[in-house]
Structure formats: C-alpha cells, structure tokens
Amino acid sequence: MMDLLEFPAPARASSILRLAGRLGRAIRGLPLSVIVGSLILLFWIACALFGDRLVPFDPYGEDFLATLAPPDATHWFGTDQLGRDIFSRIIVGSRDILLVAPLATLGGVASGTIIGLVLGYFDGLVDAVGARLLDTLMAFPFIVLVTMTLVALGPSNVTVILVIAIAYAPLVARTVRAAVREQREREYVSAARLGGENAFAIMVLEILPNIRETILIELVTRLGYAFFSIATLSFLGLGIQPPSADWGLAVADGYGFLTGGKWWGVVFNSAAIVSLVMATNLIAQGVGAFENVDR
C-alpha cells in the first residue's frame, strides 16, 4: 500500500493539517472536565453571537394573547408575563453576561496583578500602606461592596464591569503579592538586579512570566464567580438592566409568578445560569484551581 506521505499535500493544506494535528494532540492532553466545560462555554458564546438569527421567535416580541403560557410544541419553554418566548430569550440572553463577566474579570485580574506586583516587590511603606488599603476593601462582604458602589454610580453594564473589577482587584492582588514575595528571593531575581535591570523590568520581564500559572488560575476561578455574582446582581435588580433578555433578570421576573404555579420562567433560566457557572468551574477544576483561592 502506498503511504500517504509520498504524495506531499500543497503547502497550505499541509500546514493546516499540521495545525489540526497539533490542536488534536493539545485537546487530547486536556482533562475531560476542561473539554466538557469548554464545549458548554462555546455553545453559549455561539448563542450570544448568532442566536438572534436562529431563534424561532423574536426574543423581544410581546404577545398579550399568550402571556405565561406553559411549555408546549410552539413555545418549547413557555412564555413570560409579556408573552415573550422564553426559549428564544434564553438563547440570546447569554449576550450581556458573556460580555460583562469576562471584561470585569479581566479588569480585576489585570489591576490586581499590577497592584500585587508592586506591593510584593517593594518592601516598607508602599507595602504597608497598600496592604492596609487592600484589607479595608476586603472588609466589605462582596455583594455589599458591589451594591453600595453600584447605587452610587447607577447600574449599567459599564458600571457593573467597573465595580466587579474593583471588588476583585484586592483579592487578586493579595494572591499575586504572595506569589511575588516567594519569587523575589530566588536567584534569577538577584541576578537581574546585579545585572542592572531596573525594578520595572524585573517585575514585568522576570517575575511576571514565572507567576503566570497563579494568574491563570485566578483568571479562570474569578470568571466563574463573576458569572455567579453578575447573575445574582441582575436578579436583585442591580446588574444588567431591562429590556435585556438576561437570565438573572428573567428569574427575578418569574419569581413573582411562582406561587401561581408558573414554574417555567424560573426553572429554565436558572438552568441556563447553572450551566454557565458549572462550565467555567469545570475548566477551573481542570487547570488546578480550588486549592487556595478565596472568594
């Protein structure tokens, strides 16, 4: 039998094949939980991007002849109090939270990393003052800190991103600070210092690459908690605002109709929230989080 290799594919195709092969090997090396989590996450990202073209009904279209209809063949997940199709709303409802949560996490982890690098690298007054300020920010229960600041700034997608980032920064900074302290005593740092590198270069070029695993774990774990917190804030009416089809908002809407036996709004939207949080946590578990991360 002839070996396939005797027929070299055109250059472009072979590079694609090689890329696919490498991707395949990389995926096979991943823990199962990461694969499953990523698939769920990708599903919701696809829904956020293309959902409005695929849904059977207009997610914002009201139908006052069919309000609070139970699930049936037309409306798979039933309709809400304005007669809007819940299935269609869930599909496009991932949009806001999938935009807000990653941006908030990124902001919090980035600023927390910068603060942690500085506090960890410099001793003395900078560290003493900084650590005290971080303690103060962490003296507020998370939801309370966020509630207080959101009210002062007025709830919107932008302020939610800002406020969650502010609340995460000290938590990340504390972890990064500890990691930097550990690295600071290593020989490669003294070598760089003797070599005449300035503090900024040592922090960014020498220490940062060596604590990237800590930062990655922070990123993934915080993202999970960001989905959790933003859904909670929306449920409380302080997060994503109507007319968004956001799941937390929809659960809050459906909550009022529970006693009348209208369970579908709450159940399906809750399931969507749980699937998203669970997906992120499956990934987090795969990268070895859950060991030392506080919330």
């Binding site: 005290r132 300020l133 303690d135 103060t136 920010l137 003296a139 507020f140 229960p141 998370f142 939801i143 309370v144 509630t147 207080m148 600041t149 959101l150 009210v151 002062a152 700034l153 999970g224 959790f228 859904a231 909670t232 449920f235 409380l236 009416g237 302080l238 659960v251 909550y255 529970l258 006693t259 036996g261 369970w263 709450v266 159940v267 809750s270 929230i273 749980v274 949080v277 669970m278 946590n281 578990q285 859950f290 506080d294 919330r295």
Partner: protein, 319 residues
Amino acid sequence: MLSGRTLSTRAASLLLTLWLVSVLVFLAGQVLPGDVGRVMLGPFADAQAVAALNKQLGADQPLLVQYWRWFSAALTGDFGTSLSMRAPVAPFVLQSLGRSAALAGIILLFLVPAGVGAGIVAGLNQGRLADRLIVLTGISFGIVPDFVSGLLLLMVFGLWLNWFPITGAAPDGAGFWTSGYYLILPALPLVLNLTGYLARMTRAGVVEALAADYTRTATLKGLDRSQVILRHVLPNALTPTIAVLATQSGYMLGGLVVIEALFGIQGLGNLVLNAAKSRDFPMLEAGVLVMATIFVLSAAAGDLIQALLDPRQRRRASL
C-alpha cells in the same frame, strides 16, 4: 497567653481598618453620587429645592466637615435620619440586625456539624470513594448561586411538597420554635453553598494532622487508632477550621442580602438592598458600616481564637 504587645498591635490595626472602612462608606454614600440632593430628588426637581435639601443634609459643607459630623455622630450610635422612613436610622438597623442574627444562627446550626463532619470523614478516608464524593458534592453545591438553589428549594419544599412556609418571616407573636421553623428553608441555600468549602478546609486540616510527626509518635507509642484520632488528630485539625468559619462569615453576610430578599425577611441584608434601591443613603451607610464591622470583628476573633489554641501562632505579631 498572648503577649500584651501583640494584642495591642492587633487592636490598633483593627481600629485602623475600621476607620478606613468608615471613610470608604462615607465616600461611597456621600461623594460618589455627586450632588446628593439632585440624586435624591431626581433630574426634574427645582434647583432651589435641591439646594435646600443639600443644606438640610449638610451636603453644602466642605467634605471634611461633613465626614467629621457623620463620623462623630455614628460613634455615639446616631446614624442620622432615614430619607425614606423619615425617622432615625439606628432602631431600624438594630431590629434588622436581630432578624439576621437569628437566620445566621440557624445557618451555623446546620453548617458547622455538616461541614466539619463531612470534612473529617473525607480527611480520614483520603483518596477513597467517600472522600471524592464529599469533595465533588461540595464543589457542585458551592458553585450554584444562592438565589438559584433558594428558588429551587422554595419550589420543591415550599410550593410542591408544602413542608415549609415559603416566607422566612414568621407571623407576629410566633414563638421561638415557630420562628426557627420559618427560617429553615431560607437557611438551606447558604448551608449548601458553604458546607463544601468548610468540609474542604477541615479535610485539609485532618490530612495535614494525620501526616504530622506527633501522630506518628502517638501511633508508635501504642495508642489505638480511635485514640490517636480523637486526642491528637482532631484537636490539631480543627484549629484552622475555626478561622475558616470566621472568614466565611463575610460571605454569609453577603449571602443574606440575596436570601432575605428571596424569602422576605426584613433583616440587615434586605435593609441594605432596599436602602440601595430607594437611594436612602443614611440607611445604606449605617447598614453597610454595621455589616463591615461585624465582618472585620469576626475575622479578628477567628485570628484570636486560632492564636489562643495554637501555641505556634502566639508570637506572630502581624494581623
């Protein structure tokens, strides 16, 4: 015993944190909204009315003067007048604090035995099926948002099976046991959420104590396993658990906001939430200040208890 110097350093840094908390609360409540009178009266209010309200609230004074007035009054227990209730804030805060404390008590009543018990079982069976099941179940429950698990419990046990009332507020004049019964369903979401975390921390303590030299010594001198575990492993393993409980009280306080809203309990969480929604800044500031103070004090108490129980930590001066 702890040295006097250590204690005074800790007390000083505690006071410093509390003072900074008050500054932050003041900034968030009175400075971030900008023109407080305008925010409260809305965009269409008369400029004169806004100015009059600002004068009445003292918001036209320099910041430092405002802060000093607010802070010195708060120290004497005077948190100002609620804007929505038109009455002093302090009695509302006290009343809701009592209701939240009752709920927190019920939560701890379930959480501590469940979390510590599961953690000990998992730690003693490290790597076996029971261990994995406990850790996995704990993580699974830990990632479900409180309001989701609360709603599901409410639907299943409140509306469908009718085992529990769907509100957390017992009717007026209800006795001790009845009030407690009303709080069981609201307590469960936070118990579910926190048990896994507490169990993981307890488990880590047990695993560490099992591997320690003193455990080996105790085994080698001929004590049987149950004696080793009861006398040597558990006392050492449970010390860190106490600190974990103290730090998690902050998460619990935050969780109260959601749970109290869900089950209609007029506690501290609901007070903060409603004050936030109605932009009742004096009420919001008082509620947040009380919550943060409880959190800071409980974390400090956790540190202190741990220091008292663990001789190795008695000399550590920094908080």
